[in-house]
Symmetry: C2
Subunit: 176 residues, 2 copies
């Protein structure tokens, strides 16, 4: 089975970086619990919205993102038994390209360059499954969409849901 | 119609860069005519082969590539009447990612980031047509493959062939 896996909020914890940078710049610490069904830019004071929206367009934002829990070991197991591709809508953020590439080299060295995709619109991808946190990616995908739980998407009910990486073992029949 | 267009040897003249860098490093000027059915690394003295193979892995190689003749104006016309995506197997060359992105911004600013794809293996792409110079990309593509003439592929007869960009107007029914 060919499985596409999104990066941000699925493998890499970009929300953590938003919270960290916001605290650095404006002194207030929001938490993931504050974000239920929303993005950080939607809950900060209006005068800070533009600054927050620009964070992922800045150099360094994607460089040292923490791992989503258990992503490395479970994706390694998936990759051993399925055809796993990483598919990130990275093109919106020009400076993210080398940072995301190096991040994969460091954290997922077993994902060969042939299995890495940086794109804009995921409707152009052909695979059996897409695991992603965004409705706008899942809704245009031609295969089976699987939503990966993230603070901003907890209200969405129209896709099969992966709450956390360990649950992928049962979903994709990973044998130990 | 959704049309994928490869970059190197289709939009960007990477062969010219190989010939230029080889002359810079080893003093001999090869020409495109010398390359009929071969790559530069296949015709240089054996002791220079590794150096030539490493050129595209070096910073700067993809930065200022000249345009393939008429690519800009014809791709602009195609883009006005079809759904054009740029699909480059850039992942093999880590440093090429920002260089290729900036090259597109400079030379093809009308190609929105949503329509740009950097990948490894083109079997993962879904579209009606792929215009590419390499058999290994065309042979795994699920839609209609169209080979774009390049010195190294002139012997291949199994695909419909685009000899030069102006011929694309008739192939894709571009109306002026």
């Amino acid at each position: 089975m060919r499985i596409l896996i999104d990066m941000d909020e699925v493998m890499a914890d970009a929300i953590q970086q938003f919270l960290d940078w916001y605290e650095r710049d404006f002194g207030t610490r929001y938490t993931k619990a504050d974000l239920h069904g929303a993005r950080l830019r939607d809950i900060v004071p209006e005068k800070h919205r533009d600054a927050v929206a620009k964070y992922p367009h800045q150099k360094g934002f994607f460089k040292d993102l923490p791992l989503i829990a258990h992503s490395r070991e479970v994706i390694k197991e998936l990759n051993d038994q399925h055809e796993v591709y990483i598919a990130s809508a990275a093109m919106e953020f020009e400076y993210s390209l080398p940072e995301k590439y190096e991040w994969l080299d460091k954290n997922f060295p077993f994902i060969h360059w042939k299995r890495r995709i940086f794109c804009g619109d995921k409707s152009v991808l052909h695979a059996d499954v897409l695991i992603d946190d965004h409705d706008f990616n899942l809704s245009v995908f031609r295969g089976k969409p699987v939503i990966f739980s993230a603070p901003h998407n907890m209200e969405i009910t129209k896709y099969e849901r992966l709450h956390a990486w360990p649950d992928a073992r049962a979903m994709f029949n990973i044998t130990g």
